[in-house]
Symmetry: C2
Subunit: 487 residues, 2 copies
């Protein structure tokens, strides 16, 4: 491990943390941040810093950084800008290794704030301290048991490392991705980037073995050449998914007033993305979907998709989406048609998409899935079984009480059992063949069953199909550069 990586350890796996501005009041940023640190079940020493308290949230409290005994790995600053700068100087003198400046009121407010930020940059340069922010939401690290974030948050643990140049948006995206069952190893809200830049985090994630998928919310890139080099290196090793905000004139003006970043042209960004293998999300929905799919699925080996459906309409929309996004819906070989026909109702579609027309035979669905992989007909399997969520559909029926509660309950349980078993069989097919399987449904039972599986779930065919297309694109990118490197 190089020097740089061990330096970042003070940020992502600190042995101890001081929270400056720690408070007993949850409504204050210093209170919420210390609470977040505690809620992460951090295993090292925690030092609240507050000159007016002897004890905060049950912990011995220090009047300042200097009075804390021994070395400090990480300091979190939540006090107002003026004070924060003074404490940062103290941190430099004390030899603190890393600092998260949640405090706002720096370059983004101009004038005096900008001058103060210049001093933050200077301290970072001079001391080598890893400084995050200022004007950020904080840092999360799963293996560090670290939630140094100013707002209540409950991310899943997992294999995604993320950096976001927008704090709140980063939190929303982390929350949305966590709800799909995908999870995070690290998250940084990079704020004004007085010292550590987007590029630095990406560079670190590139060699971080815990990060299997990297996600970035980008408003502006400060060093285009360095970004390109890091992106290229990163994409060679793991999927790098990015969204570029401030794509348009209206957007980039808004971005400038947000974190004073330099937006840069989207045309340039697009071309860099293409050259370096960046998986570009055009909007926040795509970012959530791509992150989920790449975090959960193995990469497909080719463009061929098998669609497995119980209702014609969904099969049609799924096939449309595949072809629109450059994927293939290959025909079924005669032996596959014969094998399925042995078990399927006579009126099944006899082609791909396989429409089993309301069949409730779970074994048949499973056979269809397995045979498509077994006979190497497809590279990816898409279950398009968008049952609607029955949860409230029975309300009118219950109201008039013509069937007994038991009878309706039996029927509901039957539907739930079917969807649950279908979901489980999708997951087992994915595990058995190590190939990507995606599920399209509105049924909440399926979401629950597949939450911790390798099968991502989407509410509509288009969202699933866009993910498959991006995975295929990335796989082809990898093959292309591998070929070029082996020449």
């Amino acid at each position: 491990m190089g020097r740089q990586e061990s330096d970042f350890d003070a940020l992502f796996k600190p042995r101890n943390i001081a929270v400056v501005g720690a408070s007993n009041t949850f409504g204050k940023i210093g209170g919420a941040t210390l609470a977040a640190v505690l809620s992460g079940e951090f295993r090292g020493e925690i030092y609240p810093v507050n000159p007016y308290e002897n004890e905060v949230l049950g912990l011995k409290t220090y009047p300042n950084i200097s009075s804390i005994p021994g070395d400090i790995d990480l300091v979190v600053l939540t006090v107002p800008a003026n004070t924060a700068l003074e404490v940062l100087r103290e941190c430099e003198r004390k030899g603190v290794k890393a600092c998260i400046m949640i405090t706002a009121g720096f370059k983004e407010v101009g004038g005096e704030g900008e001058k103060m930020q210049n001093e933050v940059s200077e301290i970072g340069r001079r001391s080598g301290m890893k400084i995050v922010g200022p004007n950020c939401m904080g840092v999360y690290s799963a293996s560090g048991n670290l939630i140094a974030i100013m707002s209540p948050v409950n991310p899943n643990k997992g294999n995604i490392a993320m950096v976001s140049q927008s704090g709140t948006l980063g939190m929303v995206l982390m929350d949305s991705i966590s709800r799909t069952g995908a999870g995070f190893t690290k998250f940084v809200s990079s704020g004004n980037e007085a010292v550590l830049k987007l590029e630095d985090y990406l560079d670190y994630y590139s060699s971080d073995l815990e990060a299997r998928v990297v996600v970035a919310f980008i408003e502006g890139v400060r060093d285009g050449k360095r970004f390109r080099d890091i992106a290229r290196e990163l994409s060679r090793k793991k999927p790098f998914i990015a969204i570029k905000a401030g794509k348009t004139k209206a957007g980039s003006e808004a971005a400038h007033s947000h974190t004073s970043s330099i937006a840069g042209s989207i045309q340039v960004f697009r071309s860099v993305a293409k050259q370096t293998g960046i998986i570009l999300a055009e909007n926040s929905d795509e970012l959530v979907d791509y992150a989920t799919a790449f975090a959960k699925c193995p990469l497909p080996e080719g463009r061929r998709v098998g669609i497995l459906s119980g209702a014609g309409g969904w099969a049609v929309l799924s096939a449309d989406a595949c072809e629109e996004y450059g994927l293939q819906v290959p025909p079924l070989p005669a032996n596959v048609v014969d094998k399925i026909s042995e078990l399927a109702p006579s009126y099944w579609s006899r082609r791909n998409p396989i429409d089993l027309v309301s069949s409730l035979d779970i074994n048949l669905f499973k056979l269809c899935g397995e045979i498509l992989f077994e006979e190497d007909v497809v590279d990816t399997l898409l279950y398009a079984y968008i049952a609607y969520d029955f949860s409230s559909s029975f309300d009118p029926l219950s109201k008039i009480s013509i069937f007994s509660e038991e009878e309706i309950e039996t029927f509901k349980k039957g539907s739930r059992w079917f969807m649950r078993t279908l979901a489980e069989s999708a997951s087992s097919v994915s595990e058995k063949y190590g190939k990507p399987v995606l599920f399209v449904t509105r049924d909440s039972e399926v979401y629950n069953v597949l939450r911790n599986s390798r099968v991502p779930v989407f509410g509509s065919p288009i969202r699933a199909v866009k993910c498959i297309a991006k995975m295929v694109e990335y796989q082809e990118y990898l093959e292309r550069i591998m070929k070029a490197e082996n020449k």
Copy 2:
């Protein structure tokens, strides 16, 4: 009212209904369908028909159609194809006015089924009976208190009239749209269209005063010229939102095997849509979003959008999306900047998007919204306040119990109160000015508050902005044809 419209009354507002195949077993189609009819609290006579029962679900039961005394408006057929055809002949003799053939096994299975369907068409032609299906899910009519559908369903009442050439998909879409708070006046699953075609329902909806927005899921159009004429007439009167499935080779082949429809080229369909003002949805998510927005919002008078945000990142993404979709994010006049500055924190964005940077001042948000309409700066207002859903964010905190439940509860209540009040103020601004207001958030409280308002809620900026763009496009279409007609 013309003859045709009064004919459709037998379908959408029948005075009585016979359900053939009615059963005491909920798991059977005839049982579920009769249950659905009862759950809709249908106000006329209901005649279960079943030769083996004297009573079904507590209702006097008839052995056949002929034995039912008096005229019958609507018959619903759930028995197997052979029997269904026999009963249909009986219906013709009895002079039944309308019939919903849920029964499958006709043209979609080929051979004998195709022959039987030809006879259905012939009976329809000869008798003038309004025949829906066969191979369909059924019909819903709010003002008819009619749920003649084979599957449990709980649509909202409202102003949307829908026809779907895919049954299950139609049900899922109706369910999804209902969950947004928009609602339905009528829904038809048109099935194989042996008699009544897509075009017939659209023609009826065109002059139906209860239908304010028309939605169609289209796999194939049978009479291109007639479709074009009806679409043109329809769009002149009300928004006509359509999705065309089977756009691609893969999709149209799947569609053919689904309901044996003739898919037709998407290029032709796109050009027809453009000529006739059809609002074309490219996928099922767009269909749900457009239906919701058009059903709830007044149309915008122009392309100018005001973005109101509490977090920079969302403002940037929203501005990007607006410009990408041809909308304007106009600058704020000096007097508007001054007025907002009187109340806003000094570091507010001073431009559109208006970013109030974590301000919790509800009155300030309201003032900003009102002033943008009052001073005629924008035509549409977009609240981009995507707070994430706090519901599970506090779980880690509760686990370590450092704050009292009361303290955390107070904080949660505070967040809920803020989002609820912000949502209410968005709705009041919309009501006050009669102009479109849309809300972007992930906060479930906002969804609840705005469910029955004129303010649609979306989970991401791109989804809201696409709706605004479509509404502007339609408004401009109306202006264009009005101008042409007045020449």
